[in-house]
């Protein structure tokens, strides 16, 4: 790993300033992606601005909304009793990220800012129609993930919280890569309180995407059979040593059906 200048601000404004002043700075949250990337020499930032000093961690559960502060580690989202009751799909998703030690370190803010195409949280943000709150503004989940490893965040903008509306019912089902536990495909299906349905797919494409045809079918009839005949196109989906685009396209329907059946 190349050396860097280390900053540990205690206020968001100081973090933003440190980034503005840095030649090629990177924000560090849990470090579960950034540190391995730096160790492999794939990234060599001039400055690391560690957001751990902000103390921005914790969960607030309201009647209609669950707010997860950006620095909250996956383990805390997974085990929080309030989250489990309000949005069991969200706590299950968080409890399935990586492994126990990774969940003790990785954060929701870091995960969504990184926008790994195989990460789990983007499916929750888009599938549950969440809002991403940053140091500068609020961004609707649908507009946050713009491309592979790219988000709507500006270079000096920090995620501060994610607000999840409490759905009527939802479930997240993923087909984990057996080694890394990253989603080869993961599908969040949610019926929101206004009756609209969302189907958000991670792992399959360059970034999280929705399947409007399935959403429409489920709004008319919320059952696994309603979407059994709906396939997504394989073209444009991810292709790697783990799975072909055709296989991933097939998994989308299989996992979406399972998620509908499991929704609660």
């Amino acid at each position: 790993m190349e050396n860097f200048i280390y900053h540990r601000p205690t206020k968001p404004a100081d973090a933003v300033k440190a980034m503005k002043d840095a030649a090629d700075g990177k924000f560090l949250s849990g470090g579960m992606t950034l540190l391995p990337t730096m160790k492999q020499g794939l990234a060599a930032p001039s400055d690391i601005i560690d957001l751990g000093g902000l103390g921005n961690s914790g969960v607030e559960v309201g009647a209609d909304k669950v707010t997860v502060k950006a620095g909250t580690v996956h383990a805390n989202v997974a085990t929080d009793k309030g989250v489990k009751k309000a949005i069991p799909a969200l706590s299950a998703l968080a409890g399935g990220i990586g492994d126990p030690h990774v969940r003790n370190r990785g954060t929701i803010g870091g995960s969504i800012a990184n926008n790994d195409p195989a990460a789990d949280y983007p499916a929750a943000v888009v599938g549950l129609n969440a809002t991403v709150v940053t140091s500068a503004r609020s961004v609707p989940g649908d507009k946050f993930f713009t491309d592979i490893f790219t988000t709507a965040l500006k270079d000096d903008e920090i995620v501060t919280a994610v607000e999840f509306p409490v759905p009527k019912r939802a479930a997240y089902v993923k087909f984990p890569n057996p080694a890394s536990r990253y989603a080869m495909v993961g599908v969040m299906v949610a019926e929101l309180k206004d009756g609209s349905v969302r189907v958000a797919v991670t792992g399959a494409g360059p970034k999280v995407f929705r399947v409007p045809e399935m959403e429409k079918a489920l709004e008319a009839n919320f059952s696994a059979d309603a979407i059994g005949g709906i396939k997504v196109k394989a073209s444009g989906l991810n292709s790697d040593m783990h799975a072909s685009p055709e296989y991933r396209a097939h998994l989308v329907t299989v996992l979406a059906r399972r998620a509908v059946a499991a929704a609660k």
């Binding site: 790993m1 190349e2 050396n3 860097f4 200048i5 280390y6 540990r8 560090l28 470090g31 579960m32 540190l35 391995p36 730096m38 160790k39 492999q40 690391i48 560690d50 751990g52 383990a75 990586g98 492994d99 126990p100 030690h101 990774v102 003790n104 370190r105 080694a179 890394s180 536990r181």
Partner: protein
């Protein structure tokens, strides 16, 4: 260089490190605590698991400077007064190690598991919770047995 201080296995320690120094390097190279191992160095294998402020983390994927002020427990901190920790005793009793390389991480993950889920653990839970720890000798069978027994004795 940054000056850092921590409490490691109950003892106050300090040192000067480069920002890029990983926690595992600080433990092994600065403090000479070589019980914590570096296996894969890509945060997969779990040989480097230690407890930081009471939770298990992979010390190959944490900056030492970011752990300034933390309380750290390594495998060396498990035994008390020359007596093995019940989990260590169980690994010995149930032949929970072959080459022993993964063992420090397995032990720290096992103790963390008991701290989180209690002393009565079924086989499925233990296997699932060991997702982040890889044994290259593939001795999982006895590791699982050892953890089950060790948990009961904690």
């Amino acid at each position: 260089m940054s000056a850092i201080s921590m409490k490691v296995n109950g003892k106050a320690v300090c040192g000067a490190v480069e920002p890029r120094t990983l926690l595992v390097q600080f433990l092994r190279e600065n403090l000479g605590l070589t019980g914590t191992h570096v296996g894969c160095d890509t945060s997969q294998c779990g040989a480097c698991v230690v407890h930081v402020n009471g939770t298990a983390i992979k010390s190959c994927t944490a900056l030492a400077v970011a752990c300034d002020g933390a309380e750290v427990t390594t495998v060396e901190g498990l035994a008390k007064n020359g007596k093995l920790h019940p989990m260590q005793e169980a690994f010995r009793e149930h032949h929970g190690l072959q080459c022993g390389f993964c063992t420090p991480g397995m032990l720290m993950a096992a103790v963390d598991l008991v701290n989180r889920k209690g002393k009565t653990l079924d086989e499925e839970t233990i296997r699932h919770e060991l997702e982040g720890n890889i044994c290259r000798c593939t001795g999982y069978h006895n590791i699982v047995k050892a953890i089950q027994a060790g948990a009961e004795n904690m």
